[in-house]
Symmetry: C3
Subunit: 147 residues, 3 copies
């Protein structure tokens, strides 16, 4: 059995990756963190959602964030994205491919777990900071009715 790729990431970098994941979750569960949300991606970062489509680049991500929070009937606002089971698939000094699982716990009519899935991420270090080059969302169950 080969050494897990996790061994290739320094603890310092690993905690910065966890910080990236936490800031993503906080920003997407708030409605007033557009700038921080956008800053978590590389300038040409890509976000691929089965529900929201493919968004490319910070300008488009910024517009999407506003649009997302303008839809006041969404049950997602104010809830909690929660990530666990992060597995580093491959790693160099400035590029990590990772896999993890997430659930979303809604506070509206909740608490209740209403969506769950996986993130397939490419995370790169640019200008001393880790950012999403690409985040692909997979959804495994969703109890939300279409709105």
């Amino acid at each position: 059995m080969t050494t897990p790729a996790a061994a290739l990431v320094s603890p310092e970098d690993r905690f910065l990756i966890e910080d990236l994941f936490a800031r993503y979750n906080r920003a997407i569960d708030s409605n007033d963190r557009r700038e921080e949300f956008v800053s978590l991606y590389t300038p040409d970062g890509v976000w691929v959602s089965p529900m929201e489509g493919t968004i490319t680049g910070r300008e488009a991500l910024s517009a999407w964030y506003d649009d997302y929070f303008s839809r006041s009937d969404l049950p997602y606002h104010g809830g909690q994205h929660r990530v666990t089971n992060v597995i580093i698939e491959s790693a160099t000094e400035d590029r990590i491919e990772s896999w993890c699982t997430w659930i979303f716990v809604a506070s509206l009519e909740g608490p209740r777990v209403i969506v769950m899935g996986k993130y397939i991420d490419t995370i790169v270090k640019q200008d001393g900071r880790w950012m999403f080059e690409k985040r692909v969302i997979e959804i495994n169950a969703n109890s939300v009715e279409e709105v």
Copy 2:
């Protein structure tokens, strides 16, 4: 974009912070860990709960713990507090301000997620150990009926 404050905490210290969070959760979800629960706070540590009020100092925390577990009708006993999305807001060598999200999963009539919220923490290093100087609880959803 500035460097995340997470970079200011050594991995060794960060894991001790996670240990503090885990021990808090285990102690508050057991009924026989009063001493450990109290030891997680500084001598004048403050715990602020929307449900339980403000408790200050180890003696008061100790009395609260006993009282809490004497209320046998509470649905909280034997469940799981679960923390994620820890964000370090600021950090020096011996003081950290952090933000995180939590859910509580009850085992009674469960499993079921019945409360969710945030912790706003001030954590300090005293005598070589990290302890809560202050933990403020925010609740975002609660499906528990008043008891």
Copy 3:
């Protein structure tokens, strides 16, 4: 108050332990990772489940894995095991005793939390890799009807 045992584990080793936990969860929530699942145990590793019994050694674990996924009526397939509150109880350079809490979120007829409990683990380093020498499962609540 003594130093937490967590201080005895290097951050590098601690992240490899977390990798072990994540790979266990991914393997037991997939149906095509038998080899990886088995490789997470020492050759004579023991897995003790209140539902599945005691399985000892890689050959028996391998057979169990196939049997588990052949039972197509189980609500566990495709869901998420999620671990948190890891507490290191004792640690030497190549042996760790730990305690943690877990929930299982089913995707079938879900998302829904259907089982919760604890893992009591003995984890050892052999040939440069951390593996389960023994994992004992405790279940605290289970809403699954017997199948």
